[in-house]
Amino acid sequence: MERYTGNPDAVRALVRDLEVHKDTYIDEEVFALEMEHLFANTWVYVGHASQVPNKGDFYTTTVGTEPVVMVRHTDDSIRVLYNRCPHKGVKVAGETCGNTGKFFRCPYHAWTFKTDGSLLAVPLKKGYENTGFESCEAKHGMAPVQNVKVYRDFVFCRLNPNGISFEDYFGESLSTIDNMVDRSPEGRLEVAGGVLRYMHNCNWKMLVDNQTDTCHPMVAHESSAGTAVKVWQEAPEGTPKPMAVELFAPFVSSYEFFENMGIRVWDNGHGHTGVADSIHAAYSPAPGYWEQMVAAYGEERAKHILGDTRHNTVYFPNIMVKGPIQTLRLFKPIAANKTLVESWTFRLVGAPDLLLERTLMYNRLINAPTSVVGHDDLEMYERAQEALQSRGRDWINVARLFDPAEKEQKNVATNGTNEWQMRNQFRAWAKFMTESM
């Protein structure tokens, strides 16, 4: 029985001021509607321009559950195409990345397409003469995603031809990407160090919720970060503090620390933790880096850039960015109960290698399928995915520090343990789910 399809009121009713219905996490019909509406109406992250530096370079990925290929076209612009041959439906670009030259060639029947998707040639073309082929969908080649925006080398797209503009969608939230890029003395990032891929048997939104959930680290991560602190305390006096301990220890900071860290909420479901302070604020300096930044930006501006130590920025719907540690996590929905988490890292072009080393160590310690911190979190998500099937309770609670006046406010900083950002995400969820229904 379809309960939500074509019924925007039923979808909106899943989100209340203080609680969210379990169907948003476990119902397959809701998931299908997310793919059809939410991931089409919002601006979704595709990839980074440094992954396709030369003409013909491509990178294959998904937007929602749609296979797409991001490619550097012959005019040097970046295009995003649905990765599907218009002939028999075969995925055209098969590798994760590579160079296709001036055109894609489908491996099944050798139809070829320019890197803007347009049909270049079909073998035995005569067989299509006087058939009416001109009126077929296939005549138009691989479908391009019309709305693509490259912002400081970060590539986003909106699958729905109509909808909110990139600028209106992200607004002030782009300041986190700006800060991450500005941390390079050359103002440039490169994808570096490989991507960690971690399969989660849970709904993608559990991961998004977790990014600004500041009341869980001292509880769920007592086993990992707490043990790291304990082991470190047993080290002989005078032992230099290892980088790994510097990265782990802040996870088990006090409630007070996270309250004071602050949280800021933007329109359309975006928001970030770490306004006044963050778990990334007290890392040791990298020798030579400060001097590079002063030379590039001047002292005042360098101080401003490096003083902004935001923790997690959620770009709704499905990425999280850490400026101070140059990480982007992408929560790729596969099914209502399955999500692929990809954790990407960036080199600050021109900066000391030590910063990349720290970023990669952080990614490994926190985001790998072998990460003890990851194990702590995934255990909670998978327990939730299983137990949400319960008929004993139907709602997930997001009431912490709710204030009815918050709905009229934007770009506001508040107590770091506020669940406002989770509520903000679900308000955006209801809006973009129903916009095209």
Partner: protein, 161 residues
């Protein structure tokens, strides 16, 4: 002057004994097999040469290994309630090269199964042990674990291969 008579057999016996400690969950004893500067390395990329400027699945020094071992025994380690178990199936190890710097390099193909609750996951790959003599005993300076599908998307891997 070496105190130990290190032969092909003592090296291969050492490799088998190490895997057995893991299968028997004797993690403290297993940890003691590593030198103080020892590492356990599980690369993320095929043929990876750099553990520093390329991400790995694991690149654990002794402190990080100790964190893992203590965590496995912790009362609030919820991802180990219930606990995982593991099983190693090793091919006969080969001693790779004479060791000019006192390291013995031993390569072993393996199948490894990790289980928890109703789930059983099979991994396959090769380990490369760099074994040295340390205070009259064989110790591991480096254990490198190359999974055949190192770049695949995995769920939790909670124990040691």
């Amino acid at each position: 002057m070496s105190a130990l008579d290190i032969t092909h057999k003592t090296l291969t016996d050492f490799i088998y004994a190490e895997a057995r400690l893991l299968d028997e969950q004797r993690f403290e004893d297993w940890l003691n097999l590593f030198t103080e500067d020892g590492h356990y390395w599980m690369p993320l990329a095929h043929g990876q040469t750099d553990p520093r400027l390329h991400t790995s699945l694991m690149y654990e020094d002794k402190l990080l290994l100790r964190v893992r071992v203590e965590r496995l025994a912790g009362q609030r380690t919820f991802s180990q309630q219930p606990k995982s178990r593991c099983h190693h199936l090793l091919q006969a190890p080969t001693v790779e090269s004479p060791a000019p710097d006192g390291e013995h390099v031993v390569r072993t193909a393996f199948h490894y199964v990790e289980t928890r609750q109703d789930q059983q996951t099979l991994f396959a790959g090769w380990t490369t042990h760099h074994v040295v003599e340390d205070a009259g005993a064989l110790k591991i300076r480096l254990k490198r674990v190359d999974l055949v599908n190192c770049d695949a998307a995995f769920g939790n891997i909670q124990l040691f291969m």
